[in-house]
């Protein structure tokens, strides 16, 4: 289905259980637990949600209901270099959409998708707060400011070389 089939080994399950325990297996802490779990795995596959539901003594439907509500959580693994285009208003009025279109065109993926080789994934976010640099693109933690559509290729080349 939505997630890629993975099997969790005992070590990963133990790590997850440790995260849940850190929050006293309190289901009120579900969102904090999910943050940590996503940090650990990079995404939240179904198996991870199953384990969390069990540990927090809640239903997996509830966990999935929460995961699918918040845009920060994802069930698909991100690319090696996750690309985020700021779609805040400041960036929008300074042409972020054209920049996004260019990324889509070159990478041949839609927003929320990962390239076939797993190298890049494309997403939008709402205001990183660097409005002075609008339009802003983030690749991983690195911020690129004042990006123009014709600068997109250069940014990608930087990572293709690596």
């Amino acid at each position: 289905m939505a997630s890629i089939n993975i099997k969790l080994n005992d070590q990963k399950i133990a790590q997850l259980q440790a995260i849940c325990k850190e929050f006293n297996n309190d289901k009120g802490e579900l969102i904090n637990v999910l943050h940590k779990a996503q940090h650990l795995f990079g995404y939240l596959p179904a198996e991870v949600q199953e384990v969390i539901a069990k540990e927090l003594n809640t239903s997996v439907a509830h966990v999935y209901g929460v995961v699918s509500f918040y845009s920060f959580f994802t069930m698909t693994p991100k690319g090696e270099y996750p690309i985020s285009i700021c779609m805040g208003t400041a960036c929008y009025v300074r042409g972020a959409e054209k920049v996004l279109d260019e990324f889509k065109r070159i990478l041949k993926v839609k927003v929320g998708e990962t390239t076939g080789d797993g190298k890049f994934s494309l997403s939008c976010l709402r205001c990183v707060g660097a409005c002075g640099l609008a339009p802003v693109v983030m690749v991983g933690e690195k911020v690129y400011g004042r990006v123009a559509p014709d600068g997109v290729k250069d940014i990608l080349d930087e990572y293709l070389k690596q």
């Binding site: 289905m1 089939n5 239903s59 999935y64 509500f69 845009s71």
Partner: protein, 589 residues
């Protein structure tokens, strides 16, 4: 009690503090339309997420319209429920809901019984001004329930039932915004989830998003096959509700008409599940007394309390959620399955036909019965003991399809031998009934005395969890009763934690017992209907000459001719079962 004065549509009224505008309006004959709202008064079940916004009204001085279902009356409030602003808003919201809803009403399973459809009609919607993309989801067919969530309007009633009342936790609102919908985890199929098929989601769904798997055509085909002997059994709760589908008052008993209709449909034998209920009491009651006697003689390993096992939703529930306690429930099969088993052995032998040439159809108030009869352990060489479980609603449809004027039918009687039953068998249809029936028999067997009075009022009622102590001639027998799986969970946790000292516990998955089952005519939120059905069941019991299972002459005959004695080797083979650990059965596609 503090009283509040307000005006609604220029009518001055006084209500108790805490009353909602919706309830206040009702007292002066103003029926504000609702959609997501559901209130089962007698069961204290409420769903009011205030999400549909159909019940909005104008409150003077407020910037926005207020949802009547959750807005409390305050002193001096001036409310208008139908001015042009309100009507325009209400109709526009309705149009919006319809704009994201398939318009296949003509062929929808819910057509004619759909709250959305009726409301659209009442609001006079004739055109959808707002149209656009519709949200689409995968259709999901399980052994009992079909989810066509393109028709989901996010009323959240099913989610409330599944989580708050039943604590099964299969359904949750998922996704966000336009794509939000109620679904199982990962939007997987129900049969990959821990769904018990109790069908309470179906019972409250206002649209065609949740419906039962329809077996009426399979039944029609079986009836048309000359090589098959088709026999039918009908559960106790059906006779107390079927009349509603034909415009009768809730609580009308239609046992005789039901039999007549089934005969007209062409069933070769019309039998009664109540007979099998009596049989269940013989087996389960004996099991109870056996465990009790062992306990009294100091056996430390004996499992007490014994839990009833007639309810397939309940069986699914503990197999999924409490598998470690699966040695506590009685091993007795449910009446439906006992019936099928006896029909395809004892009765087939009597007729001299092979089981393959016999088709057993059951008419049930329940959707979990569809799943139950398809379980592998209830098949012999692939041939199921019960071939099709059909709901009360499906039967009504079958009767209508066959041009039978139900209301004008003359009463008819069940066939023998599997159609004869006692009052004890009838009360299986309501919460507390199974344990009352068991008590009637167990008391007499255990004490050797005759009961003066067969009614045990302390076991009756609608409270979620009840307990009572019955004096078995000096020995106090403690009995627990729960209906609704959430309450079953509480009771079960108490048992697990050693906090409960019951000897026997009855559990029914559905609120009110089988009369409130997922396959019954829809109550549309009117819980007085459930009360009326309950009263009808007790009336039927009172009208019976024999009211104790062990006195049923055909049960006695069955043991003499075929089974030997209760809990014999043969009855273990045919009438008992074992349970599975399904906690790990959840698969991810």
């Amino acid at each position: 009690m503090e009283m509040i004065n307000l005006t609604i549509d220029n009518k001055k009224i006084q209500v108790e503090k805490g009353t909602s505008l919706l309830d206040a309006a009702k007292t002066v004959g103003i029926n504000i339309p609702t959609l997501c709202y559901l209130h089962l008064h007698d069961l204290d079940i409420t769903n009011k997420p205030a999400g549909c916004r159909i019940c909005v009204v104008e409150v003077k001085g407020r910037r926005n319209l207020a949802p009547a279902c959750v807005t409390e009356c305050t002193e001096g409030m001036e409310v208008n429920t139908h001015n042009i602003r309100v009507l325009n808003a209400r109709k526009t919201v309705m149009e919006l809901i319809l704009s994201d809803h398939p318009t296949d009403c003509l062929v929808c399973a819910k057509s004619g019984n759909c709250e959305l459809q009726s409301l659209a009609h009442e609001l006079g919607i004739r055109k959808l001004h707002y149209q656009g993309e519709q949200s689409h989801y995968r259709e999901d067919t399980s052994p009992a329930i079909i989810r066509d969530v393109d028709k989901c309007i996010m009323c959240r009633r099913c989610e409330m039932m599944c989580n708050d009342v039943q604590t099964v936790g299969v359904l949750s609102a998922v996704n966000r915004g336009f794509m939000s919908v109620v679904a199982p985890a990962f939007e997987m199929n129900l049969d990959h989830s821990v769904c018990t098929y109790c069908g309470q989601c179906v019972a409250v769904c206002p649209t065609g998003a949740l419906t039962e798997v329809d077996h009426t055509n399979s039944v029609i085909r079986a009836l048309a096959d000359p090589s098959k002997t088709v026999i039918v059994q009908t559960a106790p709760a059906v006779r107390a509700a079927l009349g509603e589908e034909f415009g009768m008052e809730p609580g009308t008993l239609v046992t005789g008409k039901l039999v007549a209709a089934l005969r007209r449909l062409g069933f070769d034998y019309v039998f009664d599940t109540d007979f099998a209920a009596d049989l269940t009491i013989m087996e389960e009651g004996t099991e109870l007394l056996d465990r009790l006697n062992r306990h009294l003689s100091g056996d430390k390993d004996v499992k007490l309390p014994i839990l009833t096992s007639c309810c397939p939703g309940w069986v699914n529930f503990f197999e999924h959620q409490f598998p470690e306690m699966r040695d506590i429930p009685s091993t007795a099969r449910s009446p439906q399955q006992m019936f099928g088993s006896i029909a395809k052995t004892y009765f087939a032998d009597k007729l001299g036909i092979k089981r393959e040439n016999m088709v057993v159809v059951s008419i049930m108030p329940c959707l979990a019965k569809k799943y139950e009869c398809a379980r592998d352990e209830f098949k012999v060489d692939g041939n199921p003991d019960v071939d099709f479980a059909v709901s009360t609603r499906e039967l009504a449809n079958l009767i209508k399809q066959s041009n039978i004027d139900f209301n004008s039918l003359d009463d008819d009687d069940f066939d023998r031998p599997l159609g004869e039953s006692t009052g004890a068998g009838v009360i299986f249809g309501v919460t507390g009934g199974v344990i009352e029936a068991a008590t009637r028999t167990a008391y007499e067997v255990f004490t050797g005395k005759k009961l003066e009075k067969v009614e045990f009022q302390q076991l009756r009622g609608m409270e979620w969890v009840r307990s009572a102590t019955v004096d078995f001639d000096g020995l106090p027998i403690k009995i627990g009763i729960a209906h609704g799986l959430g309450n079953a969970r509480k009771l079960l946790e108490d048992v697990r934690d050693g906090k409960a000292d019951f000897h026997a516990i009855e559990i029914m998955a559905c609120p009110g017992g089988c009369i409130g089952g997922g396959g019954q005519p829809l109550h549309h939120g009117d819980s007085s209907i459930l009360k009326a059905r309950t009263a009808a069941i007790y009336r039927e019991d009172e009208s019976k000459v024999i009211r104790k299972s062990h006195e049923n002459p055909f049960i006695i005959q069955l043991y003499e001719e075929f089974l030997g004695k209760p809990c014999s080797h043969k009855s273990h083979q045919l009438l008992h079962t074992h349970y599975f650990d399904k906690s790990k059965a959840v698969e991810i596609e």
